[in-house]
């Protein structure tokens, strides 16, 4: 039974790290797409949606090619920093972050585009530099839209199966997340364990939804 709790803990750890990664990268890329004008911007925007539409196993394969021991990035990481991503929980984070990225990036771009440029200009005239304007005006006004994307990315990361299995495998206690453990339990005919895992997954998801409703502010932060 402890195996189930270990899987839950691992799932949460992987999903949280993946979401944190998505938050930083998704907000940065979403902001760049919303504010800069360069040729091929819409093409880049479409390509960033690929993780949403490609089969997770295909994504996992791409990741393996890239960060595997013989992959371009993987070999460099191993020789330079002694970092191994394949068959590690960090590899699972990478896979989960990749599938969740479009949710944050899309939401962030849409949210940034709704921020009135005049309000940012007002901050400029009042003496603020670009980073201060971003953190004091743009981000607070776009925050609610971004948060919606972040929650979706977290949910997606929590349920990630295909790409994670390809990159990180299914090592109990190391890379075997909840969704993978469910699959393994059913395959092995361990119905009791499968039932517990499914119940645990469902409960976790419901709690996440409730928390989301609790913490997502009904209006802009600070309003009565």
């Amino acid at each position: 039974m402890t195996a189930a709790w270990v899987a839950l803990g691992l799932s949460l750890k992987v999903a949280l790290w993946a979401t944190a990664l998505d938050l930083v990268l998704g907000v940065a890329v979403g902001f760049a797409l919303a504010r800069s004008r360069f040729p091929g911007r819409e093409l880049v925007d479409s390509l960033l949606l690929l993780p949403m539409v490609l089969p997770p196993t295909v994504l996992g394969y791409y990741l393996l090619v890239l960060v595997g021991r013989r992959g371009a990035l993987g070999a460099w990481l191993e020789s330079r920093f002694d970092i191994h991503l394949v068959f590690t929980w960090q590899g699972a984070v990478l896979a989960a972050a990749l599938v969740g990225f479009p949710f944050v990036c899309k939401a962030a771009r849409a949210a940034f585009e709704t921020v009135d440029v005049q309000v940012e200009q007002a901050a400029r005239v009042l003496g603020l530099g670009a980073p201060a304007i971003f953190f004091r005006v743009t981000l607070p006004l776009a925050w609610r839209g971004i948060l919606a994307g972040v929650l979706l990315a977290f949910a997606r990361a929590l349920g990630e199966f295909g790409a994670t299995l390809m990159v990180a495998g299914s090592i109990p206690g190391k890379t075997q997340t909840l969704s993978i453990a469910v699959y393994e339990a059913v395959q092995a005919g361990q119905d009791g364990l499968a039932n517990l895992l499914v119940a645990l997954t469902s409960t976790t998801c419901i709690v996440v939804l409730l928390l989301a409703g609790r913490f997502a502010p009904p209006r802009i932060a600070g309003r009565p």
Partner: protein
Amino acid sequence: MKWDVSVRKTIGAGAQRFELDVAFHSDVERLVLFGPSGAGKTMTLKAIAGLVRPDRGHVRMAGSTLFDAEARIDTPPRRRGCGYLFQEYALFPHLTVRQNVAFGLVSGWRNPRADAGGPGVDRWLDALELRPFAARFPDQLSGGQRQRVALARALAGEPRALLLDEPFAALDEPLRNRLRAELAELQARLSLPIVLITHDPADIDAFADDVVHVDHGRVVAPAERFAEEHSMKSSARNHFFGTVSAVRHGTVNDEVELALDGGQHVVALVTRESSERLALAAGTKAFALVEASSIVVVAEPATTLLSARNQLEGTVVSVQPGAVNAEVEIDAGGVRVVAMVTQASARALGLAPGAAVLAAFKASSVIVGVQR
């Protein structure tokens, strides 16, 4: 010289292309840039503030150069010392009135706290009577209160000059009049140079020491300005300048035909007595005054036959809704026509910028005048 501005900038391409080429200098404290919407006023003001970078030219304020394309000077907006009032005020919707006013006084990456104080903030909250609303958010304020917050926010940084973009356009008429007086009083008290841009002639009457007329991205020539300023002294909203091209005598009335500077013709019915008093004859420089309420707007010019002698074809430039009536501005081949129609009519006719219309008025509703 308080203001020495010469800016050129081209934006867009093809049909969207807009060329701004505005130059003026002035030494008054209350300068008004006047012109119809889309004339390039806001772009000029943003170039002064540093929010728009001109392709060529210079911006000098009270002797110091803020921008000079040739000398490669481009002072960033935050060091220009200009307070700026945006058209819709552009308050920070996520911050309280107090935080909005304190915004520019706090550096760093964090917003002022909800209880941000200090003399710099309290002084302006008091000066603009905002104390009772200090804890409110912008969407909990009326239009007039929002304008005062925007003013307090701009003034809190102790700017060297104030730039106001249509400060009264978003307000209703009675409030507009009160705030015009308040602004004039505030300006006098602080003796702060102000540049105000507007499309409303009433702002000129209430505020301007000097006026720069801007249209189609250019400053309108001083000769035309002189003529326009003269006609501004009439209550009629339409003033057409031209030359008498024909006088046809009747028994009671004369029919006077005026060839406008833009090429159009206006026919007026004038009594024999007046016609002789004004010595109207072919070649006389004259102008025609028409009340905005005397002008009928016809939405389908191609399929309509009217008895009115004056029918100027044009396109709607703007529709400014008021309490009951809407003011429709029409560009009839370079001649500006202002018509007052009811809101209901404006809606029923689908009057919107770009619509092809006919501005029709009777020959008997035209008053002809000459300059002494």
